[in-house]
Amino acid sequence: MSDDTVSLVLFSGTDDKLQAAAVLAVGAAAMGRKVNVFLQYWALDAFRADRVLKDHGVSPEAGEAGLRAIQAQGKTHWSELFAQAKDLGEVQIQACADSMEMFEITKDDLDPMVDGIWGVASFFMEAEGPVTFI
């Protein structure tokens, strides 16, 4: 992949961080950038097929006022934004093999928008340029 690849490591599984990451992914795809998304830990957990649309809460720093502010905005769900990103451009979403093992899950447990399972070395082979961790 080229230098203009956007590489996002998603660690957090709260809806606010997934939302922010999804906005980055769809914006990058709209502007013609390739996007690599690597799912670890709680972000991977949130991409389980039976959990995608569940309430994943928000970051602790949001507080009650923050939560209300988030809910007040007419937002498209993050899973829909990732789907739009994939539809728009070259966007791949890969699950971290180590996190998969930790949760004892297989590809079938994940939402179909997840393209495959990668080790961390595979991720870095594709991730030329900076990596954003959220």
């Binding site: 709209a30 502007m31 498209t76």
Partner: protein, 92 residues
């Protein structure tokens, strides 16, 4: 491309006549209005004129940036009361 205030009623009328599709994305959060525009561009024909109404602040920079990147034509941006109206021609 011109940027103008909401007092340009006559020019608004002229533009509205040529619009082939109008999208009211007011109230949608970023990047909703841009996504709606991209969808309309993809579905449309070359020469179509698409109007997007957006109250999202991000649209003011995002819609022109995307139009430039995707090489369509930004006909005008009109600031209305509480929202902006973007008029774009699909050129390819």
């Amino acid at each position: 491309m011109r940027t103008q205030g909401s007092d340009a009623i006559a020019q608004q009328g002229e533009t509205a006549a040529g619009v082939t599709r109008s999208i009211d994305a007011r109230g949608m959060a970023c990047p909703g209005p841009l996504m709606s525009l991209i969808g309309a561009i993809r579905e449309g024909q070359v020469g179509d004129v698409i109007e997007v109404l957006s109250s999202d602040e991000g649209s003011k920079s995002d819609i022109p940036a995307w139009v430039r990147k995707a090489q369509h034509e930004m006909i005008e941006i009109v600031t209305e009361d509480g929202y902006a109206r973007f008029v774009i021609r699909k050129t390819r």
